[in-house]
Structure formats: C-alpha cells, structure tokens
C-alpha cells in the first residue's frame, strides 16, 4: 500500500465509498446531497465549530463530557441530563468498543443484551448499527452541539453515518486513533482510512457545511510527553487540512505540572498555526482542547474531584478552548449520569470562576513552551525529511524509525522504546529518549532534570520511577516517590 499526503481524487474517493457503504446495512441510508441539506438545516448555535469559535473569541473554556450507552432512548436521556443538570456546553457521543473495531455483529449482541438486561452492556453508543435516522433523532433532541468520540482505526463507515446523522464534530485521526487504540492496524492503512474520513468532511466543507475535526490529543493518556502528543496533533492537522478540513481542534492530555500543562497548550497553538500556514492552510481555524488527566484515577470519589478540579483549573489557566471532563467514577467504570454531571459541575465552577485569569504568558511558561517547541521541531522536521516533504510517508517512516514513539502504546507499529518519567516538580521528561531526534542540549536538559529527582529521592534514575509514576496519581501523588520519601 502506497499512500501520500495528497487530497484524494473524486475518483479514488467514490470508488472507496461504494464499498464502504456496503459494510453494514445501515450504510445504504447515507445520501450525501440530502445530508448536506440536513446539516444546513441545523441552527448555528447547535454547530460545534461555531460555538468553539465564539468561545475562542471570548477567551473562555467550554466543558464537554464523555458519554454513550447502548440504547438510543437512554442515550438521549443521558445527554439531555448532561446539558441540563451537568451544564455541559458541548456534548459527546462516545462510541462502544465493538463498533470501534468494526465488529458490528457483536455490537448488535450488545444492543440486544442491553434490551434484555435493562443495563447497558456496551461501553458506548453503537452509531453504525443504529444508522442515520436514529442518529438524527439523537442529535436533534439536544440543545448543544454534539461530537462523535471514539477510537476507531477504520472509521470510514462510522464517519459517513455520523455526519449524515447530524453530528457537527468528529474526533480521531490516522495516528491518534490507531497507535493507542489498536494492536495490528498498520499506519499505512489507518492514515489512508482517515484520509477518507477527512476527505468526506472536506467535501461537506466544499458543499458549505463546516464540520469540526479533532485529532485525539492524549494518545495513551499516560505520561505522554507534550512534544510527542503535540507533534502527532500537528501532523494530523496537516493531514486533515490537506483533505479540505477547515476547522480543527488540537488537543493535549494533562500531565499535572501546571507550568508544563499551560506551556503545552501554548506551544500547540503556536506550532499548529505555524505548520498549517507553512503549507498554505492559512484559512484553517484552530482551537484547542485540554483533557483532564487521562491516566489512572484515584478510587475515592472525593479525591477524584480533586484531580478533576485541578484539570479544570489548568485548562482555564492555559486558555484552552474546551476541556474534556472526567468523573468521580473514573477509576471504577463508565459513570452514572449523576457522576458524570457532578464532574461537569465541579469543572464548570472553575471554568467560570477562573476565566479572567491566565498563565499563558508568564516567563516560566514561555521557557517551558520553548523547550516543547524545540522538541516538536526536531520531530516534525525529521518527519518531513523522512517523507521528503510528505507528512504521510514521513509519519510512517518516523514510526518505523522510532522518531515518533508513544509510551505505553499497544500497537506493534510503535517502537515502544521511549520511556517517560516525571522530574522533581512533576513535569513529564524523558528517561529514555531512544530514537527521538533531539539535540544534545535537549538530551542534557532531560538527563539533568531526572538526575535532580534521583538525587532528591536518593535512588538512581531507573524504570522503577516510571512504574511509580504510573501509579502515583491513583495513590494521591504526582511524582511517584519511593515510600520512604512520600510518607
């Protein structure tokens, strides 16, 4: 398979499309022209991109939950509850794991078993099985814009049904919905699949319907250094823009050190703009999303409120356009609607309370952002070099060479050699840089940061730090100190 970062031709696209819409019976329900009209009938205040643009202009941070259940009437009730009782500004529809893997038969079993047992046996909403009409029933029942959130390596049919179904924003990307979410999908395949999704959205755009697109920022959610996830975000923004996408929200998953978190959003903003402009995508609108801590949560609900609130605060102080909200049930399982709304309200209190405070321009943030940007440039420029200017080819080569390497990812197409660990202030640094193409200065910077921690903890820099850091937030800490230090 040969892919290039070039806009798919109509010929390519429609040939592929014919096949895709056959994958499951509901594919027949998709009619592009009719869907364009349907999308145009959606009022502006229910359009995702419009609401984001307004928030960006007002310098405020919107809040959005994750949520999805097996039965659609229940799903509507859930989302209504979240916008009314949870004060959510933006709504999600989180898709179940079978659909994510195109296992629609198993998803159907899930729907059926859920009907029988009266509780949701799926961890999300099976969009493909339901098809266009039911999706429209869902999206039109709500006051707020709704986005599809999933984790699907091959989301072509899902994208078709979702946009025809009235969703106005769509998460994912050929890297971010592959490497953290899959074991065996090659990047060639998933980048190609996502070119399809992006091209479809580009076609809606050309037909006068703007759909917001969001690469999945946090990747594995666990100690991912900002420069890695930011680089992936920039690449996916370039890939999407190439297919004609005009409205992109780049994302980042909170690491926990405030300076680093604010700096991550700062650098993400600056370099996404810079790289998009470089390729002539000056008309692409950029907004940002900050994910509250995406790794392991404390079991205790009150402690979870602490983590959630800290994420909310960091998002606002970083001036992210929206924040994705966790719930006090995070460590236990898919939350009840009450727990979900509780996380939202705690977050809302802080997004509104802190909206007039900003940390984006303080010297420590600027310094940290400069480090992140240097690292991003090392990675991105090497990707460009490997691809001889083509970011699709470059990305595939970069993963092969470990130039991009995502910690803890399940994919066999990921080198898995990079090892992150927190420094003495909790910022995520590199314990093992492996093949990342960093300058000697950057290597030295990270080494010194970890040695500082090692001295403080009176133990050598080692893999045990990584393990301790993975558990730390769940146990109430940020830096995973040896017991004798933390107690």
């Amino acid at each position: 398979m040969e892919i290039k970062n070039k806009k798919l031709t109509d010929h390519q696209f429609f040939a592929e499309r014919k096949e895709i819409l056959e994958h499951w019976p509901t594919g027949k329900g998709v009619d592009f022209a009719e869907s364009v009209e349907y999308q145009k009938s959606i009022p502006q205040e229910k359009r995702f991109g419009t609401k984001l643009a307004k928030a960006k202009e007002e310098n405020i941070t919107l809040i959005q939950p994750r949520a999805g259940v097996a039965l659609y009437q229940e799903h509507i009730k859930l989302l209504q509850y979240l916008e009314n009782e949870g004060e959510a500004d933006l709504l999600p529809t989180t898709v179940d794991s079978y659909t994510r893997l195109n296992r629609y038969t198993e998803a159907q079993t899930g729907i059926d078993k859920s009907k029988e047992s009266g509780r949701s046996m799926l961890n999300g909403f099976p969009i493909v099985n339901y098809g266009v009409e039911i999706c429209r029933t869902v999206t039109s029942a709500l006051k707020s814009p709704v986005q599809v959130r999933h984790g699907t390596p091959d989301a072509r049919l899902l994208t078709e049904i979702s946009i025809a179904g009235g969703f106005t924003s769509y998460e994912g990307g050929g890297i971010s919905y592959n490497i953290p979410y899959s074991k065996n999908h090659s990047l060639e395949k998933t980048i190609s699949h996502w070119q399809y999704a992006d091209r479809l959205i580009g076609m809606y755009e050309e037909a006068g319907v703007s759909i917001n697109r969001e690469p999945f920022g946090p990747l594995t959610g666990t100690l991912v250094p900002p420069s890695i996830s930011n680089s992936v975000a920039v690449i996916e923004a370039i890939l999407a823009a190439t297919q004609g996408v005009k409205d992109i929200t780049v994302g980042y998953g909170q690491c926990g050190n405030l300076i680093q978190d604010v700096a991550a959003i700062r650098s993400l903003n600056i370099l996404t703009r810079e790289y998009l402009d470089k390729f002539g995508f000056n008309d692409v609108r950029i907004t940002t999303v900050f994910h509250q801590w995406m790794g392991g949560f404390p079991q205790d609900e009150s402690k979870s409120f602490g983590v959630i609130s800290w994420g909310a605060a960091a998002a606002v102080l970083a001036k992210a356009t929206k924040v994705i909200v966790k719930t006090p049930h995070e460590a236990m399982g898919v939350p009840t609607k009450e727990a979900n709304a509780a996380g939202l309200r705690a977050t809302k209190q802080l997004t509104s309370m802190l909206k007039d405070q900003s940390f984006t321009d303080i010297p420590a943030v600027i310094a940290e952002a400069n480090i992140i940007m240097q690292e991003m440039k090392c990675i991105l420029d090497k990707v460009e070099e490997l691809g001889k200017g083509d970011y699709a080819i470059g990305t595939i080569a970069a993963f092969q060479a470990g130039i991009i390497d995502i910690p803890f990812a399940p994919s066999r197409y990921n080198a898995g050699k990079v090892m992150p660990a927190r420094d003495n202030t909790g910022a995520v640094r590199f314990l093992e840089v492996a093949n990342l193409p960093f300058t000697p200065d950057l290597l030295k910077f990270h080494r010194e940061k970890l040695e500082e921690r090692a001295r403080y903890e009176k133990r050598p820099v080692s893999f045990q730090m990584v393990i301790d850091d993975v558990y730390a937030i769940g146990k109430g800490f940020l830096v995973g100190r040896p017991n004798r230090v933390n107690s």
């Binding site: 794991s97 953290p180 594995t220 460590a331 898919v334």
Partner: protein, 139 residues
Amino acid sequence: MDKKTIVTGVIGADVHAVGNKILAYALEQAGFKVVNLGVMVSQEEFIEAAIETKADAILVSSLYGHGEIDCNGLREKCDEAGLKGIPLLAGGNLVVGKQDFDQVSKRFKEMGFTKVYPPGTQPETTIDELYQMLGIKQQ
C-alpha cells in the same frame, strides 16, 4: 524451585495496555515466568499459550467494560482443551459501570473463574494471591 508460569493478557477488543505491561513486569520481578500476550487477546490465544507453555495459571484482564461478554465460555473451552482445573483469574474493570463488586464476582465465578479482583487491585496483592494459590513460599 522451578519458576511458575503465568499467562497474562487483556481479553477481547480491549486495548488498555498500561496495566498489562506493568503487571507483567511486576510478576517477572516477583519470580514468575510470564507469558504476556498483550492486549486484544482472544480466548483461543489464551488457551493455546497456556497449553504450549504448560502454564500454572491464566490471568485475564479486562478493563473496557465488555469483560462479561468476552469471558463467557472461557472455562468451558479450557476444559475441552485439556486445561481442566487451571486457575483462571480475572481482574480490571470487568463490567460496565460502578457495580456492586460482590455481584460481579459472583457472576464471574459462575462463569468458572477461580478468583475475581476489583478495579485498582495492586500488583502486590496480585502477587501475594498467586504465591498463595500456587503454593509458593515468599522469600
């Protein structure tokens, strides 16, 4: 004493890799021979690996909520494959949502699991349980 062999993996369409990686590392550190199948492991793969490596126990993880569907029938398949009585342990976030764990445990035991562990089970606990279950004396 010979090392005991443990097959580990995350069942079904589940890609939660972090706990799996760390658990496998911890078990190795604790003196087990670990055959880690990683994520997205089918029932068949668990069984094949257990037969091939003469495993002393199978540790099934499921995080993403579909555990109940995915684990159903594993015991029967083990029996058929000649792994009668092999300890089957399940842990992670086995079901969708925050449910009463006693109920969950009961349902999984009815499916033939030897022991079932709640969310957030610490590696130390897992290791201790294995030591006990496989009759290993802790140094």
